[in-house]
Symmetry: C2
Subunit: 196 residues, 2 copies
């Protein structure tokens, strides 16, 4: 897949899906892959600089063979202490987490972790733009939900509140992100409406 | 090592250096460790939210033993496509790379990579604050150098220019970051002077 300017796209995915025909549907691509493609497009088009953070790994044992690259022989996945994506858009710090659910009627709060919520609250308190991108996979619908809306549900769950955010709430209070071919999850346009 | 508020410090370093007495000197700590400690202090004190990005790793083979954590059995180091640190400070996006040199008279440009410079230029063009933290280890001196000063030397090297930035230039045009006990590399104070 090439951009009109002739530059090749790169991807963190080790086995990129090759397609013979352009596929305008969102099916088969994970939310994360779609956002990575969107970020690559944003970077090339000069719209925003946003990257996914690498998966944090605790490296225990590394082998250094002669004349070839170092091989990590033993390592473990660590829990991320922040959200997955951050960067700069129109001069502002933006920071978000992307979550997919197979649920049709609500977004289970178990998809998010306490330390991520702590991080989001810190970002908001420092004037950054913090949000969730939520995909309801069975519905093929993607929403942008500003973090403070998550905080309300998050904090309420410890006071006898529900353990999920209703789909109806996200549909009403969140903003639907339409699917585009180039900017597959065109969240920047949604941010324009909400924050600029 | 505890903060005055009683919270334990955490570190990405698997073998934290234990010290019986507070050590006010900077010796023995890497620049990266010092910046990580500074960022932890900034987070606890509500000054800024800045994290080091995890080392990017290409995971090839993972073992999933029963009843225990997944073990990464084969993986390789990948080159980072961005800088090491980013976050939000006083509402602004900040993004930087930290580099140590054993050189006393200049900072060799070979410490920086083209894709990092590309990233820094993109950050600047989107209104983010981009800079280098340079430590001259033999001198125990740390400087903040706004990225545009690097760009001049970086671009000139391909036009017959020198392959390093003179120490005298960094001393004059950069800003010295003094060493403090809590904010060991107190770059936020330096940013106050330069950007706010």
């Amino acid at each position: 897949m090439n951009y009109p300017n002739g530059k090749r796209r790169f991807t963190q995915n080790p086995t990129p899906q090759k397609k013979t025909k352009p596929d305008f549907s969102n099916r088969g691509m994970s939310l994360e892959e779609d956002i990575n493609l969107t970020n690559e497009y944003y970077l090339e088009a000069g719209i925003a600089v946003v990257h996914k953070k690498p998966t944090p790994v605790q490296i225990v044992n590394v082998d250094y063979p002669k004349r070839s690259a170092a091989v990590i022989k033993e390592a473990y996945f660590k829990q991320a202490s922040t959200t997955d994506f951050n960067g700069v858009y129109r001069g502002k710090y933006i920071d978000f987490e992307a979550k997919e659910t197979k649920n049709k009627t609500s977004f289970p709060l178990s998809n998010v972790h306490q330390h991520q919520v702590d991080h989001m609250k810190a970002v908001v308190s420092h004037g950054g733009i913090s949000f969730l991108i939520v995909k309801f996979s069975p519905l093929e619908e993607v929403y942008l939900l500003p973090s403070p809306m998550l905080f309300t549900y998050w904090d309420d769950q410890w006071n006898g509140g529900r353990k999920s955010i209703p789909y109806s709430y996200i549909m009403e209070k969140g903003t639907r992100i339409p699917f585009h071919y180039q900017a597959r999850i065109d969240y920047a346009k949604t941010l324009d409406k909400l924050y600029f």
